[in-house]
């Protein structure tokens, strides 16, 4: 029912991933045939490269203040300098690092927790009734509000951001996994395993889990996009990392007050960087979803 509901429903309908190797090859082939996948992958790889080796691209330091403050883009400072005279180009390039560490880790945590919860909810009716209500209560709050609440309660650090975003995502992922498990539960192979006398844990994780990997994978990439979205928003609000670490959201907040003086470059390039990363992740998510439908 929330904002994120649209891609999930279609993901739940995917019934592939039976583990056959030719299906997997078909999936990969259909993936690389898509232009959106290639474009998204190139942009994401560029930002990953920036995160790993920012000095290979930016010659200035992202941290050292300079004497020329608030200067516009020029040949020596491609993206200009900020209020402390730091090179904006270096800050934008280096700013990819924290987002690309925290975002995937938070999404992974949420996916693992959500998958476990979703498997249990789909498999056991009592757990389902109880957890569904808790999930609903969580979903009544916007992501950003839960994020703020979490950061206030736990203090702001990278670990907090990972835990908070992971916890916020897990009910959403649990819902998708639950829907997929409900379909699988009725199939013969589950009854067969039950008649063989397998334990519930075995059936959930060894029998059902491999067959619901497709929606989980789609969910992971979709969530990754939202993780970047949430991180940027929280760091803009000042609930992210502490300065002087370059951070797109926090830098926009820090430089936002001088925009009315005409120093547009101090926020424009950060905003552009966020846009390219978010769009790239969503292109990947869309093409993975389409490839799963095709294969």
């Amino acid at each position: 029912m929330s904002v994120e509901a649209v891609p999930i429903e279609s993901a739940g309908a995917i019934g592939v991933g039976q583990g056959a190797p030719n299906l997997r090859r078909e999936f990969l082939e259909s993936l690389v045939r898509q232009k959106t996948f290639i474009a998204g992958a190139i942009i994401l790889l560029f930002w990953i490269f920036c995160a790993i080796a920012p000095h290979a691209i930016a010659s200035h330091s992202a941290y050292t203040p300079g004497t020329s403050i608030n200067t516009g883009p020029s040949s020596s400072h491609w993206f200009g300098t900020d209020q402390l005279g730091r090179d904006m180009f270096a800050r934008v390039i280096t700013g990819a690092r924290d987002i690309l560490i925290i975002g995937p880790l938070a999404t992974l945590l949420g996916t693992i927790a959500g998958t476990i919860a979703g498997l249990t909810m789909g498999y056991s009716r009592i757990v389902d009734d109880i957890l569904s209500r808790v999930v609903e209560a969580f979903l009544a709050l916007p992501l950003v509000v839960v994020g703020i609440l979490g950061v206030v309660a736990l203090g702001s650090s990278n670990i907090t951001l990972i835990v908070v975003i992971g916890i916020v995502f897990s009910p959403l992922i649990a819902r998708t996994v639950r829907a997929a498990v409900l379909l699988e539960r009725e199939l013969d192979y589950v009854s067969a395993a039950r008649l063989r006398g397998e334990t519930s844990l075995y059936i959930m994780f060894v029998e059902i889990l491999p067959n619901v990997m497709a929606p989980i994978m789609v969910e992971f990439t979709v969530r990754l996009g939202y993780a970047v979205f949430t991180l940027v928003t929280l760091s803009f609000l000042g609930f992210g990392l502490e300065p002087p670490t370059p951070n797109w959201g926090a830098d926009i907040y820090a430089n936002f007050t001088v925009v009315s003086s005409g120093y547009w470059w101090e926020v424009a390039f950060d905003a552009g960087a966020i846009a390219t990363l978010v769009i790239a992740v969503n292109m990947l998510a869309n093409s993975i979803e389409r490839a799963l439908e095709d294969s």
């Binding site: 029912m1 929330s2 904002v3 509901a5 649209v6 209500r133 808790v134 609903e136 209560a137 969580f138 979903l139 009544a140 709050l141 916007p142 992501l143 950003v144 509000v145 703020i148 609440l149 979490g150 950061v151 206030v152 309660a153 736990l154 996009g225 970047v228 979205f229 940027v232 928003t233 803009f236 609000l237 000042g238 609930f239 959201g249 926009i252 936002f256 925009v259 009315s260 005409g262 547009w264 926020v267 424009a268 905003a271 552009g272 966020i274 846009a275 978010v278 769009i279 969503n282 869309n286």
Partner: protein, 317 residues
């Protein structure tokens, strides 16, 4: 009869949701290490002063008692006293909510017709370039954070073209308020557009392919009449639910947009409460947001079942 039962069940679920939410909110404020009185007075305050304030705030009582007192007061409409303003929370929260509603209403007034028209136009041109352009635009607009679209708007319309005010504060009177709120509303509009457009498009495509649409065409109705009377009536139903269920997102978006454009709504209030560790304010604000969401969902479900009798007979899931 059946409808009353349906609504009663929904209200019951809503109350359970709010109850759980109150526990989550209360618990997260309890996780915070240290004593609230110490946090308010600072590290240099005398122990006796801290103890007196704890007594006054009731934070020295057992957690269960504190929760009971808090919920008991909430039910009576007493939201408690804000640490930062040193006055009752209710009126402050009410004023902020009105401001936020103004902004949200403007965003909805812009996005609902736009989204529905966009979706219907896309569906009627299913598979054609115009369908793809609208859908790709909607999908892209939906995933871009409000920070990015907000900054882009500020730079383009506020700085370079200089036709709209960068800050929304200081708006005076109805027309002036709308003038100040146009720019803050657009980031919300962009995000919501994609959802409403996709829903309207999917509903219209489904209705166009239905048996009754085919019958209407075969009995010789003009296409325009067929679309108006048979397709749109059915296709816009799910869209209504989507619109109401976006309230939850909308409030999250407000936190950011209000801060970016300096508008004193509930988003700014929550943000400041979080920054200043004003827990009574934060708890009340978060719970209010949850309540708004629960009520909006309830209204959406009820409206949906009133407009679509099939749902009523399917029962409550």
């Amino acid at each position: 009869m059946q409808l009353t039962l349906f609504i009663l069940k929904r209200i019951g679920f809503g109350i359970i949701t709010l109850f759980l939410l109150s526990i989550i909110v209360f618990a997260s404020a309890q996780i915070l290490p240290g004593d609230p009185a110490r946090a308010i007075l600072g590290p240099l305050a005398a122990p006796s002063a801290v103890k007196a304030l704890s007594q006054q705030l009731g934070t020295n009582k057992p957690v269960i008692d504190q929760y009971g007192t808090w919920v008991g007061h909430l039910v009576q409409g007493n939201f408690g006293k804000s640490y930062q303003y040193q006055s009752a929370i209710g009126p402050i929260l009410g004023k902020a909510l009105v401001h936020s509603l103004e902004l949200a209403a403007l965003a909805f007034v812009i996005v609902v017709p736009l989204g529905i028209i966009g979706g219907v136009v896309a569906a009627l041109n299913y598979g054609k370039p115009i369908d793809r352009i609208i859908s790709v635009f909607g999908l892209t607009a939906t995933v871009i954070p409000e920070v990015v679209s907000g900054i882009a708007l500020i730079l383009i319309f506020g700085l370079w073209l200089n036709i709209l005010p960068i800050s929304a504060s200081g708006a005076n009177g109805f027309g002036d308020t709308i003038y100040h709120l146009i720019m803050p509303a657009i980031p919300l509009v962009l995000i919501l557009f994609g959802y409403i457009e996709q829903m309207a498009r999917a509903g219209t495509v489904e209705a166009l392919n239905s048996d009754y649409a085919r019958t209407a065409t075969l009995k010789g109705l003009p296409r325009g009449v067929m679309i108006r009377r048979h397709v749109l009536r059915n296709s816009l139903l799910p869209t209504i639910t989507v619109i109401a269920s976006q309230t939850g997102y909308l409030i999250g978006g407000l936190v950011l947009v209000e801060n970016l454009f300096r508008w004193n709504g509930i988003g700014t209030l929550l943000f400041n409460a979080a920054k200043d560790k004003d827990f009574p304010m934060l708890e009340a604000g978060v719970l209010l947001i949850g309540a708004v969401y629960v009520v909006a969902t309830l209204v959406a479900d009820t409206a949906f079942s009133l407009l679509n009798p099939r749902i009523r007979y399917r029962g409550v899931e």
